[in-house]
Structure formats: structure tokens, C-alpha cells
């Protein structure tokens, strides 16, 4: 079963074509990196997949359901760009942020799920702390806990390590490997950092001038020059 199935997708802002008749499919258990230069349309593509934008033509199916009628959003975790996602004065504890992943968390089972998600990301000791008191890397882990608390089948990550230090980035990518390989969660990681994504993801989707090219990590490593040229 495919988690995401994109067919002949096109999107433009006014006269500016951003996505040009794009096709690709992401299967259950894949770890896919979506790469492209700044302004290449990666985030637009992600917003189309999430149903936040409407395409001019083509279709997107999530778990075999057209995105327009898709309602099982608990099956999808989303980690937005860290920078500027929240107001630093917002008085929310780590536990409250993770609970957002369940939206209506109220009972003991939900609290247990929150605790478990925090344990997976190694932040269980911080549950009562305010998000604004944490470092960038720790905040990112909390957002992962929020994404996995509803036990999703698919997580979409939009440039998740921007503004995070190198050590925290390494820990973050290790955690993503754990989610993908051990918990069998499908990942779509958006980044402009070709080297990192080529190292981490099993498949790469390269977006350039509205068109995509898909390859495996092995294909990319073997013929790096060709793909970089693309």
C-alpha cells in the first residue's frame, strides 16, 4: 500500500509555475528525502500533500484516499520548520505540547501515550518543563514526540534541523532512523542539505524547476555527479 501517491501534480503561484506535472509514490516503510535548492518548491509540495494548498491539476492520494476527502489525520505526523514555529512567550509545558498530537488528550491512556512518546525521544524527564526553556535540539525532540504520540504511519518533516547545532542534528537523525527501522514509520524528510539526506534516506526525490527525479541512495552515491547536475 502506498502512503503517498502523487500523479501529474501541477501548481503555480500566479504565472510562476512551482510544480510541473510531478509523479511519485512513497510506499509504507520508506525513508524518503525530498531535496532541492531554496525556493525550489519543496515546502509548497509538502503543503499540497498536507492539503493546505489546492493543486491546479493532478491528484494526491494519502493511504489510497484523495487528500480532499482524507480525514485520518492522526495517521500523519507533521514536524514543521523549527524556526519561528512558536511564540517564545507561549506558556506551554512539554507535556502540553506533546498532547497536541492527540488534540483531545484527556484520559489516563492518553497520558500514558504522551509519556511513552517522550521516552522514545529521551525527553521524559522534561515533561513539566516549559518548551521555551529548552535548547533547539531538545525542542525538536519534543516536536517529534508530538508527531509520534498518535502512533502515525507517516511523518512529514520540513527542514527540521534548521538552527539546531551539529551534535543535536546527529542525535536527531539517529532518532529518525530508529522511527523508520524499528517502529516502521514512513518518513518524508524535506531538506536543502543534499549530503545529509543522501546519507540518511533510502530514496531521494530531487525537485528542480518544478520537476522531480527519483533515485535510490545507492544510485545517487554511484552516479553522484549526474544527480547533482540534475
Amino acid at each position: 500500500m502506498s502512503c503517498i501517491d502523487v500523479k501529474n501534480l501541477s501548481f503555480s503561484y500566479g504565472n510562476e509555475v512551482i510544480i510541473k506535472s510531478v509523479n511519485f509514490e512513497i510506499a509504507k516503510g520508506d525513508y524518503v528525502g525530498l531535496i532541492g535548492q531554496n525556493g525550489s518548491g519543496k515546502s509548497t509540495l509538502l503543503r499540497l500533500i498536507l492539503g493546505l494548498l489546492k493543486p491546479q491539476s493532478g491528484s494526491i492520494r494519502l493511504f489510497d484516499t484523495p487528500v480532499e476527502s482524507f480525514r485520518e489525520w492522526h495517521r500523519i505526523g507533521y514536524i514543521p520548520q523549527r524556526s519561528g514555529i512558536f511564540d517564545q512567550t507561549f506558556p506551554a509545558t512539554v507535556e502540553e505540547i506533546v498532547a497536541m498530537g492527540l488534540v483531545n488528550a484527556r484520559n489516563a491512556a492518553d497520558r500514558h501515550a504522551i509519556q511513552r512518546a517522550l521516552e522514545v525521544v529521551g525527553m521524559e524527564r522534561y515533561s513539566a518543563r516549559q518548551l521555551r526553556e529548552l535548547s533547539g535540539g531538545q525542542q525538536q525532540r519534543v516536536l517529534i514526540a508530538r508527531a509520534i504520540v498518535g502512533e502515525p504511519d507517516l511523518i512529514l518533516l520540513d527542514e527540521p534541523v534548521v538552527g539546531v547545532d551539529t551534535q543535536a542534528q546527529q542525535n536527531f537523525y539517529q532518532l529518525l532512523q530508529h522511527l523508520n527501522k524499528k517502529m516502521n514509520i514512513t518518513l518524508l524528510l524535506i531538506s536543502h542539505d543534499l549530503d545529509i539526506v543522501a546519507h540518511e534516506a533510502d530514496y531521494l526525490i530531487m525537485l528542480n524547476q518544478g520537476e522531480v527525479c527519483r533515485c535510490t541512495r545507492e544510485m545517487f552515491v554511484k552516479d553522484k555527479k549526474k544527480y547533482i547536475a540534475i
Binding site: L50, G51, L52, R71, W73, H74, I76, Y78, P80, I85, F86, D87, T89, F90, P91, A92, T93, E95, E96, I97, A99, M100, G101, V103, N104, A105, A128, Q130
Partner: protein
């Protein structure tokens, strides 16, 4: 035996109305402040001024008319904000100054005995029984509305895009937030007046933030600060013969200063503990 203050019906009504507003104002203010909509509350309170002026001119119940006026304005403002045709702050300034100007002109046509100061600064002791019924009924509806959507509003306030991804009906909730705010502002006018209502929505919330708690605890604390300030303010104004609205706001500010100091002391102790 009841204290002297509760032996008067008008003071009992003042306490009941004051308590309702003291609970609701910081509750909705918790969302407005984070979303940087404090000016929104100001604009709606000025629209209420216009509505009260119309009510006085037409001899209708001012609370009811200001509620209708504020709700229509709130829906209009949200529409403008959502379509991004006008920048949020510009549209608010438009509503704010326009309503005040029109309200002043309308009031100039009416009998000079209309107490404008009571519209501007509130006249809690003049609340009638019918005002109290309207305040209680509208307040109850607003309270239930907020509590019912509390978690969704929390997610929406933190990150609107994430809320959309989680399937939360963002547009509907944005309208709900605006309309409930409008209702709360309009029923607050007799209690604290159009110039001071924003302070009841904002200061208790800011006070609770100084104690560095989570969102839920901050909301509860802000309501407690607000209720205590309103009760103390009404009592003080009765015994010391002071205007209630101004007294309430000064007590709110005093609470904020105390919380600010307490928060700094708590933070310093925390760092000392970490260092040791």
C-alpha cells in the same frame, strides 16, 4: 449577618456581574494575547461604544445592542483578516477610530444627561436586573463555547498550520474566537467600561505568565488573579468611594508587579540550584 456591602441589591448585582466578567475576560484573553490580538479587543470595545450610543439614541438595552454590534464587527474583522485584503492592525485601527468618531457624533444628538464616563470607565453599580440576566446568559454561552473547544483553541493558538494538518476546523474556530470575544467585551462595558476592558483581558494573563507555569495552569491562575482583583476593586470602591473600573485596573497592575518580582526571585533561586 451580611456585611454592609451585601445589604444593597445593586452591590450584589455588581459582584455577580463582576465575577462573570472576571472569569471570562482572562479566559478569552489567554488566546488573544498570544495571537497578538490585544488591539482587536480594543477595536471591539470601541465598536461597542458606537453600539451603546445607538442604543441610547433608540432607547434600547445598551448591553444587548452592543453585543449585536460587536458580534457583527468581530465577524467583519475576521473576514478582513482571513482574506488578507487589509493588514490586521490597519483594519483594527479603521474600526477603532471610525466607531469612536461615529459614536461621539451620535451621542452629541442625544440628551446631554447621558453619562459618557460610565460608557468609557464602567458603572458597575448601575447594573440593572435585566442587564444581569443578559450578562449571565451570554456569559454562560461564551464560557461553554470556550471550554468545549479549549484544546482545539490551544493547538490553534500555538500553531495555526499544525492545527489545519490535524484536521481542526481553523476557520470556524477563528470566527468562534472573535465572536465570543465580542460577546465578552460587550457584556463587560457596564462593569469596567470600553477604555479598561482590555486590561481585564490582558493584565491577569500577563501576571500568570510571570509564574512560568504551563498553559492550563496559567489560564486558571489568570482567572484567579482576575476574580480576586475584581472583588477587591469593587469592595474598595464601595468603602473608599472610588470609581470601580479604575480601582480594579490598579489592583490588577499591583498583582502583576508582585508576580513579576516573585517570578524573578523564583528564577534566580532556580539558577542557584542548578549552579550548586
Amino acid at each position: 449577618m451580611l456585611p454592609q456591602i451585601f445589604q444593597y441589591d445593586f452591590m450584589l448585582r455588581a459582584f455577580i456581574a463582576g465575577t462573570i466578567i472576571a472569569i471570562l475576560a482572562p479566559l478569552i484573553g489567554s488566546f488573544l494575547l498570544i495571537r497578538r490580538y490585544s488591539l482587536f479587543a480594543d477595536a471591539l470595545s470601541h465598536v461597542s461604544f458606537l453600539s451603546v450610543a445607538i442604543a441610547v439614541l433608540m432607547d434600547f438595552n445598551p448591553v444587548l445592542v452592543s453585543m449585536i454590534g460587536a458580534v457583527i464587527a468581530a465577524a467583519g474583522l475576521e473576514k478582513l483578516r482571513a482574506t488578507k485584503r487589509v493588514q490586521s492592525e490597519s483594519s483594527l485601527a479603521l474600526f477603532l477610530s471610525g466607531s469612536l468618531a461615529l459614536g461621539t457624533i451620535i451621542l452629541s444628538f442625544v440628551n446631554a444627561s447621558v453619562p459618557i464616563t460610565s460608557i468609557l470607565f464602567g458603572a458597575i453599580t448601575t447594573i440593572t436586573e435585566s442587564d444581569l440576566y443578559i450578562i449571565a446568559a451570554a456569559g454562560l454561552v461564551a464560557f461553554i463555547g470556550i471550554l468545549y473547544y479549549l484544546r482545539e483553541l490551544f493547538v490553534l493558538t500555538f500553531d495555526e498550520e499544525y492545527a489545519r494538518v490535524k484536521g481542526i476546523r481553523v476557520t470556524l474556530l477563528n470566527y468562534l474566537l472573535m465572536i465570543v470575544s465580542a460577546v465578552i467585551i460587550s457584556i463587560s462595558i457596564t462593569v469596567i467600561g470600553i477604555l479598561l476592558i482590555t486590561s481585564l483581558m490582558v493584565i491577569p494573563v500577563l501576571t500568570s505568565y510571570q509564574l512560568r507555569r504551563g498553559f492550563t495552569q496559567s489560564v486558571v491562575l489568570s482567572v484567579i488573579f482576575s476574580v480576586v482583583s475584581v472583588w477587591t476593586g469593587i469592595a474598595l470602591s464601595f468603602y473608599a468611594d472610588l470609581p470601580a473600573g479604575g480601582t480594579i485596573v490598579l489592583i490588577l497592575i499591583a498583582c502583576f508587579m508582585i508576580a513579576l518580582l516573585a517570578g524573578r526571585l523564583f528564577k534566580a533561586k532556580k539558577y542557584e540550584k542548578i549552579a550548586s
